[in-house]
Amino acid sequence: MTDAARFVDAGPTESPIFPLRVVDGLALPAEYRKALRPGEEWKDAGGSPRQLPRYFYEIPSWDSAMKIELASHFLLWEFIQVDVREAPPLRTFPRYVPCAITLLAVCLERFRDAVGTLVHISANGGYRSPSHRFSKNATLHAWGTAANIYRIGDTYLDNRSAIERFSLIARETLPGIWTRPYGTPSGFAEDHLHLDLGYVLSVPRDVKS
């Protein structure tokens, strides 16, 4: 597979602000396809099949991730911090993030405006692949539409009061957003605020599917 075949369209690379190329996951080398599972179905906790993203932005280096703004106050690197539990091919560059990541960034920017201070996404709390050891039950993190926020300004979201306060702000600010309720059972969270946009698939307009 040549680079020319893998890239969907070279047009967006001309942008100095957002120079990432769109990649068809199905055209990636086998080790990436195995880890990213582009376009595959994955059942959620309720047993409903969900289709995983097929199109990704290719991030060439950590240096570029440190520079690229997805929103005024969110750089790309904040969404791709994964630890040793991520599949090995996805821990080195080039890295891949679903194209819907830009929508999440815009939502978080609006949320940041509402809370009036810094919003910190946790490690493993932005995009992580379906092969990440923490990923299960069609986690929205594998769609690039979920964020785990562990700290807002100087407030750590590790207690009911803080989580419920900021959860309410998120729901009031972002129509349609879902936040995980406070608690310890599966499906709840007690040491971060989880918010997500649902199973959004972003297909760039130049893609011919």
Partner: protein
């Protein structure tokens, strides 16, 4: 029929000094008020060994972090981890009792570095360093979360140092503690691990040396090192909860090979003088090995 030969004067002296050493340790134990004391020692210079209650089981407290360190480096040796592999710092763990979540209280860790990184990532070698040198419980549970207790136990078994070590859970798992599920060690068990490390036989000389370097960074020095001469260097790990106080390490003295020493002690929760007792036993062993006075 040849006459039975009398033991050489040197041998008699060695036996006499060893008896004196044992008596001295028993005296220290009696005077300390400890409920139990175990001592295991192996001297690479002379080949001498001492095992006093060496197979008695004690709550491991933080000495269990030495076997866990071994498990981490086994994963590095297998290529599953790199020293610079990154680990998500998250203060949420599941008890072995019904998977109930618990946290490590920040006040229980003497070093805030790991707690300050919550939400971020730290490198495996950084966490290993904090786990040993400042006994970070958060770092310990994070590393154990990555490699798993089963993998550590398999490593111990593969290296033939599993006898005398029972790793059953992470640290600060109060629910498990209340149910009597605790990590346990014997002095002889810890001795076997430290002898292997000091001889460079854990995976490779290079990896053994890296583990020893971490143990050399120990910041709690009120036990084995406290009454040793200034030239002594000790690579060690302490452990203390309300009912036990331990120290286990390798003592390096100038111009001689090192000796490995493990001192495990058990106490009533209100008892005092724990570190002083360990330091006194360590000093007595030092004098014994360097031919100084054993009975003070």
């Amino acid at each position: 029929m040849p006459e039975k030969q009398a033991p050489a004067p040197e041998a008699t002296e060695v036996v006499s000094r060893e008896r004196a050493l044992r008596e001295q340790i028993e005296k220290i134990e009696r005077e300390s008020g400890a409920k139990a004391i175990a001592v295991a020692m192996r001297d690479a210079e002379t080949g001498l060994e001492l095992h006093s209650n060496g197979e008695r089981w004690f709550h491991a407290a933080s000495t269990i972090k030495v076997p866990i360190l071994l498990g981490v480096f086994a994963a590095i040796d297998r290529g599953e981890l790199l020293p610079h592999s990154r680990v998500h710092v998250r203060n949420r763990f599941l008890s072995v009792v019904e998977n109930i979540p618990f946290r490590v209280e920040s006040g229980r860790d003497s070093n805030s570095a790991v707690h300050n990184a919550i939400g971020k990532m730290m490198r495996v070698d950084e966490l290993a360093y904090h786990m040993i040198t400042t006994s970070s419980n958060l770092a310990t549970n994070l590393l154990l979360g990555v490699i798993g207790p089963d993998a550590v136990n398999q490593t111990l078994k593969a290296l033939h140092v599993d006898k005398g070590i029972e790793l059953r859970r992470g640290v600060e798992d109060e629910l498990a503690f209340e149910k009597g599920i605790s990590n346990m060690v014997t002095a002889d068990g810890l001795l076997r691990i430290l002898v292997m490390l000091s001889e460079g036989k854990a995976f490779s000389p290079a990896l053994s040396r890296r583990m020893m370097d971490i143990l050399h960074g120990q910041e709690f020095n009120q036990g084995i090192p406290a009454r040793l001469p200034k030239g002594a260097r000790v690579a060690h790990k302490t452990g203390e909860i309300s009912t036990v106080a331990h120290d286990a390490g390798v003592v390096y003295l100038p111009k001689r090979k090192p000796y490995v020493l493990v001192i495990l002690t058990e106490w009533d929760p209100a008892a005092s003088g724990r570190s002083r007792t360990i330091a006194t036993i360590s000093h007595t062993i030092y004098e014994y090995l360097t031919q100084g006075p054993v009975d003070e």
